[in-house]
């Protein structure tokens, strides 16, 4: 026998003693019969195409996954999803590097060292669940369930977690949107009940024709776009906006301007780039509106800016205009000029009067057009609200709102899905949140709704924070009590004792990084962490995981079932299917919800009902179906009418094909047209997507110029420029209920409003200045000399938190923010060309990257400024703020940024988790912009961290 092997007889005796090998060995393989094995082998190598959606970034593009042997082999765009129309970017295509990342979280783990130290051990799911459930039940007993915060980070798949924690009894369930751009969304929410306004650029759309057929329409109508602090060519949350902008330019001669202190990718193709001082978006919008109001002439075709028809569909314009105009008589203390005049804005923004006039005139006269404000403009400023309100007003009065080629609210016509305030979850979560609970307040037992214990909506600071507040968590983690000031429990106080974070990285992005670290590690006099429980649930290994007590690995986006519907023009939804089994020991959110619910029930909690959780949701599809019960749930409105065969204004429910074919029941009492329910199974048979017809001018009746009183979803079902008004004996408007609460509480003003001197929420147009801006707010003028630079932020699409785990993407440079300025470093990389014979496996090798060959986060600054300071591209500098905080990084010098402004991208530097791949290696010379923000500067109405309001000085390191 030709056998070769090393004989290890010497150790035979030794190993025989280890009986545990036989008795408790862990078996990872199983035997098959030869037939079974052959059958399996035969089945291999066949491709299946499965439709799903991306979740590596918030765009959630529709994707086609080519799956073979239970493994994703290729990722393409799903050509049936209008949102991305078959396109997939480099990031989406690199999904396999994330799904199959060797560094993703694989098993439940429990911390053994100190928070932040990174010492963990693997545990079983039951150990981890027991650990969490036990603590939650104890915290609930001692402090009440409201002492627990469920922060679902990303929007997607939050519903299982919200359901569980609302069901358990805490009203404090939040999501990533709370730290995203709440001031940006404020105007749309107040005025039309909406959220984000985008140009009408999503194509294709399906439009009803006079002959009854549906046309797939690829044409663009838009003629002019003004992007203010919005960079869709990089931060592609609204994926169709980048191809759509170029499409409208090429096909329809559309022009677009960009207002941005930095020469962004979007600016690089613009017809005009205007670079004002940071934080002056509001000023420019206000001056545009004043100019339009003062110079509109309905008889002069070259001055006919306003389409006065808007008043037919609006409420309160006169009050709004009066409040706006009342400022004109006042002089701004910063420059002595009349508010909102062109001169005033030019002075504050540091641009010319002519530029502002050109902006106002070009926008006013060109139709259809859209003014768009982004995350980096009103979105991240302390005073973003007036800007966002003015943006809406500009679009509405010029007749561009919901006009073909104009601007659309992408929130209020999307299909009904999940979340607070919509269909199923609304009813279900309300069921939990409306439960009556009792608390002792000042020695008296008081009864109220669970929801009235919400930290924000009834708390002392930001009652109108309808997206909740995350930026102030550190102070509560450190022991400050939540003070309920409004509603039934007025006077009640409670601490925050548990923080469950799911798919977020709040230590880095929640507000100031240093502040989160400080708060999560704060201990009481007995040496216990003040925040008793910190749980991290995710697929990725991010910095926040290092501070967790327990880590639960969640199935990646390709391994769980949910829905996507990002910012469409019309009702649209697509399936985010589980295309492969969850890898390693990760579990999908439905399973995690059920496991925790069951354990808490076993531990005696009776707010948890089996029928609400594991008995009802035996699989993901059932939960996913429940999430969209009755979808799209949107009215049959607009021009052309989506379904002329059904009554105008009736709510449409059911699959597009059932509505099209007439397989419906019409309920005249409820004013509903009900077809067949959309389900994951239906989606799988229909290219993974449901698309309902597009229409425009959805605020008016199809055949007459009067409001349909169905949409938009405001109290009056009209466009509302007043937010606290009387309608008969009823009080209405978006702010009215908050003002009612304030009045009931003896006119005790919320702390946020107090900061800006407002006693209550304003009834109509309002104005206040931002913080840390010496050029618009006199209170900060004194800092201008010592801190001569305004710090702004932005994102780099391919190097955001999660994707820094994808090594190939990180190498690509972007704008002045992500440049090949690395120090020499060594890392493992795949060898680009195989050596030796053709069939030799490709190998990864250690490779030294020479200095300045690999992209890292940088500090973008103007050439003149750099020359003055003796800096050049690559110089290591320290950036300091007036609060004594600093960050370090290398400068990238170019003319593409306004003098006096520096820009650092979110999450691009100082990444202190080794999970960040090459980004970790550069952590000591790359900047963390969040380390510089003022943790106390939370915008006064919605409580969002003012990410873009800071001034700094710069010196060589």
């Amino acid at each position: 026998m030709d056998v070769s092997r090393r004989v290890f007889l010497k150790v035979t005796g030794t190993l025989t003693g280890i009986a545990a090998l036989e008795s408790s060995g862990i078996s990872l393989l199983k035997k098959l019969t030869p037939n079974e094995a052959q059958a399996m082998e035969k089945g291999m190598a066949a491709y299946q195409v499965k439709y799903s959606a991306d979740c590596m970034c918030p765009s959630e593009c529709g994707l086609e996954f080519w799956v073979k042997d239970g493994k994703v082999q290729k990722i393409y765009g799903n050509p049936h999803v209008p949102f991305n129309d078959g396109i997939v970017c480099a990031k989406g295509a690199s999904g396999m590097q994330l799904i199959y990342s060797p560094n993703r979280l694989k098993y439940p783990m429990i911390r053994t060292g100190e928070r932040g130290e990174g010492k963990f051990k693997r545990v079983t799911w039951s150990e981890a669940i027991e650990y969490i459930a036990d603590k939650l039940v104890k915290i609930k007993k001692e402090y009440g369930p409201e002492a627990i915060i469920m922060d679902t980070g990303d929007v997607t798949d939050r519903d299982q977690y919200w359901r569980l924690f609302f069901g358990f009894g805490t009203p404090n369930c939040v999501e990533h949107g709370s730290i995203c751009d709440t001031p940006r969304r404020h105007g749309p929410k107040l005025i039309v009940g909406g959220k984000r306004w985008e140009p009408d650029l999503m194509r294709p759309v399906y439009v009803r024709q006079p002959d009854g057929s549906l046309k797939k329409d690829m044409s663009y109508q838009t003629k002019f776009i003004l992007y203010c602090g919005w960079n869709p060519f990089v931060a592609t949350r609204i994926m169709y906006e980048n191809r759509g902008t170029v499409g409208a330019k090429v096909d329809n001669g559309c022009k677009y301007y960009v207002i941005d202190p930095s020469y962004s990718n979007t600016a690089s193709l613009a017809d005009k780039w205007i670079a004002p001082r940071a934080g002056t978006d509001n000023d420019i919008f206000a001056a545009m509106l004043r100019y339009i109001l003062e110079n509109d002439n309905q008889n002069d075709p070259n001055r006919k800016y306003i389409d006065w028809d808007f008043k037919k569909y609006s409420k309160g314009w006169d009050e709004f205009a009066a409040a706006f105009k009342s400022w004109w008589a006042k002089k701004d203390p910063i420059n002595g000029l009349s508010y909102f005049s062109v001169e005033w804005a030019a002075e504050r923004a540091g641009i010319t009067k002519e530029e502002i006039v050109d902006l106002a005139h070009t926008f006013g006269i060109t139709k259809p057009a859209a003014v768009i404000w982004g995350m980096q403009s009103p979105g991240h400023h302390y005073n973003g609200y007036p800007g966002s309100i003015l943006g809406v007003a500009l679009n509405v009065i010029t007749g561009n709102f919901d006009a073909p080629g104009g601007v659309l609210d992408t929130e209020i016509m999307k299909w009904g899905k999940g979340g607070k305030g919509r269909e199923f979850s609304f009813v279900e979560n309300a069921k939990f949140n409306d439960r009556k609970v009792k608390r002792m307040v000042n020695g008296k037992e008081v009864e109220g709704k669970q929801s009235e214990l919400n930290k924000d909506h009834y708390g002392s600071k930001y009652p109108a924070a309808w997206d909740d507040v995350v930026g102030d968590y550190p102070e509560f983690f450190e022991g400050k009590e939540v003070q309920i000031r409004y509603g039934a429990f007025r006077g009640y106080k409670y601490p925050i004792k548990a923080y469950i974070l799911r798919t977020g990285n709040s230590v880095v992005s929640g507000s100031a990084t240093w502040r989160w670290k400080e708060a999560l590690t704060a201990k009481d006099s007995k040496g216990n962490y003040k925040l008793a429980l910190n749980v991290f649930i995710d697929t990725l290994n991010l910095e926040s995981a290092l501070y967790a007590d327990v880590i639960l690995p969640e199935a990646s986006y390709a391994e769980r079932v949910s829905w996507s519907d990002i910012y469409p023009s019309m009702p649209l939804g697509y399936l985010r299917d589980a295309v492969i089994k969850p890898l390693h020991e990760s579990k999908n959110p439905t399973e995690i919800m059920n496991l925790l619910a069951k354990k808490m029930y076993e531990l005696g909690d009776r707010d948890i009902k089996p029928g609400d959780f594991w008995e009802r949701y035996k699989d993901e599809d059932t939960f996913a179906t429940d999430l969209i019960l009755g979808t799209p749930g949107k009215p049959n409105i607009g021009t052309p009418l989506p379904y002329p065969q059904y009554p105008e204004g009736y709510t449409l429910r059911g699959t597009p094909d059932s509505l099209e074919k007439g397989n419906v029941k019409i309920n005249h009492d409820k004013k509903e047209v009900v077809g067949e329910q959309v389900t994951p199974a239906w989606m799988r048979k229909n290219n993974g997507v449901a698309i309902w017809p597009m229409s425009w001018k959805r605020y008016k009746k199809v055949n007459s110029d009067e409001p349909n009183k169905v949409w938009p979803p405001t109290d009056s079902k009209m466009i509302e420029f007043v937010w606290d008004y009387k309608d008969g004996d009823k009080r209405k408007g978006r702010y009215s209920k908050y003002n009612a609460l304030i009045e009931k509480a003896g006119n005790e003003t919320p702390e946020g409003l107090k900061e800006i001197g407002f006693p209550k929420f304003p009834e109509t147009f309002y104005w206040f200045e931002t913080v840390w801006n010496p050029y618009t707010n006199p209170a900060y003028k004194k800092y201008a000399k010592d801190y001569p630079f305004q710090l702004i932020t932005g994102r780099i699409h391919h190097s955001m938190t999660g994707t820094q785990m994808v090594p190939w993407l990180g190498e690509v440079k972007a704008e002045g923010l992500w440049q090949p300025l690395n120090n020499e470093f060594e890392t493992d990389i795949p060898e680009s060309m195989p050596k030796g014979t053709a069939d030799a496996p490709m190998r990864t090798v250690k490779m030294k990257f020479k200095a300045n060959t690999y992209s890292v986060g940088t500090i973008w600054m103007n050439t003149g400024d750099a020359n003055n300071l003796g800096l050049k591209t690559g110089t290591l500098v320290v950036v300091e703020n007036p609060l004594g905080k600093s960050t370090k990084g290398k400068v990238y010098v170019s003319g593409g940024i306004r003098p006096g402004v520096v820009k650092i991208a979110f999450g691009s530097g100082g990444r202190f988790s080794p999970g960040m791949g090459a980004a970790y290696k550069s952590k000591d010379y790359t900047p963390d912009c969040n380390n510089l923000i003022d943790p106390k500067a939370l915008s006064p109405i919605m409580g969002q961290s003012a990410y873009a309001d800071m001034i700094v000085r710069i010196r060589k390191a």
Partner: protein
């Protein structure tokens, strides 16, 4: 020869257990009660080191188990990037990812021997512990064939084993062991890594 294969199977099982997950109390108790081998070859020395760890005097057993569990997580799991990824494809594939074509090739080898990963499609087939379990399975089958006097089957299994070791395991084990060595490992896992390397990389003629 039978004894040789039995001893080899024991080693495979031993290593499989050490790399499959953190060790438990029973395993450590057995190991601590074991007489260390006195020879000075690599395997004996490394094993002696592991026994020393298990039986260290005055050391609290629970503390030791915790220490080893934390070290296991640090080396092989995370939540920081683990320095020694225990999957073959990480070392063999262009993408440095898991579940690559190299992983599927390993699945086919298992199937050809009527074996499949228990947690198919979730656990990548080329985890070091699974590959060691597969070797232990082949050794077990060889023992049966030898006892039954089926030399054709014995040869077949030996060829399968040799092919798997030479063409697959030997391609990545040195990198894996080097990764462990470079991560300043606990002596327990350093010992296991050195035994692994010796078992996989050394092929000597078997005297029947």
């Amino acid at each position: 020869m039978l004894n040789a294969i039995k001893s080899e199977q024991q080693l495979y099982k031993f290593l499989q257990r050490v790399f499959a997950r953190e060790v438990d109390a029973a395993f450590i108790a057995d190991l601590a009660a074991t007489q260390p081998p006195e020879d000075d070859d690599v395997v004996s020395e490394a094993l002696a080191r592991m026994i020393d760890v298990a039986g260290e005097e005055g050391k609290d057993r629970n503390a030791l188990l915790e220490e080893l569990a934390v070290e296991y997580a640090r080396l092989f799991i995370g939540p920081r990037n683990p320095p020694a990824i225990p999957f073959a494809s990480f070392y063999l594939s262009e993408s440095r990812a898991l579940m690559t074509d190299e992983t599927i090739a390993v699945r086919k080898i298992y199937l050809a021997n009527n074996m499949v990963v228990e947690n198919l499609y979730s656990t990548p087939d080329d985890h070091i512990a699974i590959e060691l379990e597969f070797l232990a399975h082949l050794s077990g089958a060889m023992i049966e064939a030898l006892v039954a006097g089926n030399s054709e089957r014995t040869n077949e299994l030996e060829n399968a084993r040799e092919l798997f070791i030479k063409e697959h395991l030997q391609q990545w084990i040195p990198s894996f062991v080097e990764a462990i060595d470079n991560a300043n490992p606990h002596p327990f896992y350093q010992g296991a890594a050195h035994i692994l390397e010796e078992v996989i990389m050394t092929q000597e003629p078997l005297s029947v």
